[in-house]
Symmetry: C2
Subunit: 258 residues, 2 copies
Amino acid sequence: MPSETSAVRTVNRISDILNCFTSKQPLLNLTTISNTLNLPKSTCHRLLTALEAQGFLARDTAGRGYRLGYQLLYWGMVAQTTLDLRNEALPSLQALCETTGETAILSIRDGNVGICLAMVESSQSVRLTMQVGRRIMLHAGASSKVLWAFLPEPEIRQILAEIELSPVQVNTITDREQLLLELGRIRERGYAVSFEETDAGAMGIAAPVYDHAGQPIAGIGIAAPLSRFPAERVSVMAPAVVDAARALSARLGARMNG
Amino acid sequence: MPSETSAVRTVNRISDILNCFTSKQPLLNLTTISNTLNLPKSTCHRLLTALEAQGFLARDTAGRGYRLGYQLLYWGMVAQTTLDLRNEALPSLQALCETTGETAILSIRDGNVGICLAMVESSQSVRLTMQVGRRIMLHAGASSKVLWAFLPEPEIRQILAEIELSPVQVNTITDREQLLLELGRIRERGYAVSFEETDAGAMGIAAPVYDHAGQPIAGIGIAAPLSRFPAERVSVMAPAVVDAARALSARLGARMNG
DNA sequence: GTGTTTTGTTCCATTTAACGGAATGCTATT
DNA sequence: AATAGCATTCCGTTAAATGGAACAAAACAC
């Protein structure tokens, strides 16, 4: 599944190599990577050596394989601290977490994936967990759906055509028609809701955040265990989420119509 | 200052480009990068476009420039969760923070720079702050000095010859002879101490962590405001730091001599 | 310990993919 | 409308990356 569409092949290859590493597969050796990407061993070896020299990768202590390097840690840190959206959002998340008592999440769309940009965890012992930086699929979960429900129709159709609707949990929407209708409902309602679309025993509510140009650029929401959050409670808590999103939008310079 | 020594030029260039971005200079445009690296604009443009396509970089909302992309956030996250040293160290840091009441830091050496790998912040209102992933210079601060004080002599001399001893704070050691002597003192004492070498009004204590092969691979230490930590208190608190380092080493499979 | 397989590393002739100078296009700014 | 400061595209050239194959080093089996 090597990626295409890029002006410099080497960049794609590097990206492909880095994407071989996941939390579940943190340690890979030359042969594995070479096979996965259908890259000749010598080519792969040369790239890996170069990546290691620059700190993209590091050899495991025992020398048994490669892992992601500390340089990525550093760049990730710089990326994080320089995202002004994130900085602006932290107070809103904090407030949202306090008023609802649940984990508050800021998500953004990057192409056809969502990313958790920031998070404030509920202090309750039973709580939903997320990791900053984690990629999420656009079709499942309130924080994901809200990221594209408010885009212009053509863009929505474009994304809908491109993404894969793999089932994640019992209620994941896997039908394109259904999903399109759901996005419509989200627009009407002004916020997205999900029950067990991504995690068993979990639900979520999320509302869109707009930038100064009026473009939907992020989603702010909460995730809670079902046990504490029956469907009836959604309409009670949703306003808090919508308000938080609106407040953040305002802080980013968005002008609300009406 | 483009880096050399790597098998694939493109990898170096990518690394150089990414390193143009810092917390202080998060937003850069084509011309700036092109000038900084002495790279022809067209070449630079092609690379930037490719990097953007793969998520290494992202265009600023207003389209005025490039910033580090979310993909780096993701890779950074994966790197962080897969570093077993970090996972092993967190309990030690937590304990150290509790017994001393100060911010506890785990640092490692990556070539000629140190990196803050993990941190547990003191709950005191006046406290030292660090950021995970931040790069630190090897010659200033206890957590830095301890990273190479216990290396074999030739390696120490090698590093000493390569690094630049720029003054950071009032007490930063900027003389190579002095620094060599200081490293000797650290070896004798078994831990490193610093007073205002990196931050005004701050001090630090750090001890070496050894891996299963007996190699010094990390440093564990505390950083505190001077107001709370006069020189007399060092000898009282140092054992706690040394113990934490020793405990972590043991957990990593290091066998202590004696 | 010896043979065998697997994995990692180096070599080098070939060719393609990256290169970069120059021309063009696009926005702001005055 | 003119200018300046950028960003983008073009295309002939060439060096830089390529990858098959040979070699080396572990890891494994017996």
